[in-house]
């Protein structure tokens, strides 16, 4: 079972990528990208996990064996990046809808200047 969480990671990645490839709606596509990005949270936290480790917060416990705090900090960075990427892509989707009148990626082929 030591590999099981890593298989879940690639499954989430594959599901998200499949959604992006087959999507017929830009907002749906952006949410699929968020799913792809959640696989990186899972990967980071799975890599840093240690059996029996507690969360790295010591306000009410003595120093003890913890899960890795560095990947938890990286995970926070990951969440911030995902939020910003989603916001920016949604803004672009709004403008695409204004310009082309559709949110179907296949209808966006004709880019006008």
């Amino acid at each position: 079972m030591t590999w099981y969480p890593f298989v879940v990671v690639v499954w989430v990645l594959a599901v998200g990528l499949y959604g992006i490839v087959t999507s017929r709606h830009l907002v749906h596509q952006i949410l699929c990208l968020a799913v792809v990005q959640s696989s990186t949270y899972l990967l980071l936290l799975a890599v840093g996990y240690r059996t029996g480790g507690v969360a790295p917060y010591f306000s009410d416990i003595p120093p003890s064996r913890t899960v890795d705090p560095v990947v938890a900090a990286l995970c926070l960075t990951d969440v911030v990046v995902e939020a910003t990427v989603t916001a920016l892509l949604l803004a672009i989707a709004i403008q695409a809808h204004k310009r082309f009148g559709t949110l179907d990626p296949d209808e966006l082929r004709q880019f006008r200047g």
Binding site: S59, T84, K98
Partner: protein, 251 residues
């Protein structure tokens, strides 16, 4: 390329990726057996040398502080980017003054239960947000998480009330100023360390009397505060730009 062809190409590529990935995880240390010593070092350094009992915040705002400066500017750039992308296009007009436009609009009747629930949640949400921002060095939390909660409190005013009220308590000028001050604050705290002869973003402030209290951990608490201001303002800039698209912009 038809949808069918695209799916075939994807499935072939995904099968290759999955094969390589599964081969690669065979070489990883097993789940639960992370071998890195860095985390243990940070655990002891963060608590003993920085008097911060939240090691994740200590990593983010001190030990790895320079990276987090970049991370904060990603958020700053994204909020700016959303404003630029959603600027008024040539053929559309934006209502001249949001306040006047909103005042003329007949107030949409909202469900009384929604209004009461939202309004009752605003105060507690602000308290929780500030608590998370100001106790990031002690308990789970910090500027990024608390900032989002603070922005949620303002958004609750929109959900339970009117866009006009939302705009009045978060005017665009104030948001821009808070966003800029938050981002600049982080960078200037680093410069402050240079001014007293240390390295950039070094923790030069007094670490406080004991670990696990609000006034401990020196610059970690201060950076957490300015990041909280920046994140709350950036989130509100993004949200209000998106709201204005439906409420104010006329095609």
């Amino acid at each position: 390329m038809t949808a069918r062809q695209r799916q075939v190409v994807f499935l072939v590529a995904m099968a290759g990726l999955a094969a390589l990935y599964l081969a690669a995880i065979g070489g990883l240390p097993g789940f639960g057996h992370y071998p890195g010593a860095y985390g243990d070092v940070v655990d002891s350094v963060g608590v003993a040398a920085r008097k911060a009992t939240d090691v994740v915040t200590a990593v983010n705002f001190d030990i790895r502080g320079f990276d987090t400066l970049g991370e904060e500017f990603i958020l700053f750039a994204a909020a700016t980017g959303v404003s630029v992308v959603l600027r008024a296009l040539r053929e559309e007009r934006e209502a001249p003054a949001p306040v006047e436009e909103a005042a003329r609009r007949r107030e949409r009747s909202r469900n009384a239960a929604v209004r009461v629930a939202c309004m009752c949640s605003v105060g507690p949400t602000v308290v929780v947000g500030w608590n998370i921002v100001s106790h990031g060095q002690v308990n789970p939390g910090g500027g990024f998480q608390g900032g989002v909660i603070l922005a949620t409190a303002v958004l609750l005013v929109y959900l339970g009330g009117q866009f006009l009220t939302f705009r009045r308590i978060s005017p665009a000028d104030l948001l821009d100023a808070a966003e800029g001050a938050g981002a600049a604050g982080f960078a200037l705290i680093g410069v402050g360390a240079l001014a007293v002869g240390s390295a950039y973003l070094a923790n030069v402030l007094p670490l406080g009397p004991s670990r696990g209290v609000v006034d401990s951990s020196g610059t970690i608490a201060l950076i957490s505060f300015v990041v909280g201001v920046e994140v709350a303002a950036s989130m509100l800039v993004i949200v209000s730009e998106l709201l204005e698209q439906t409420l104010l912009v006329k095609p």
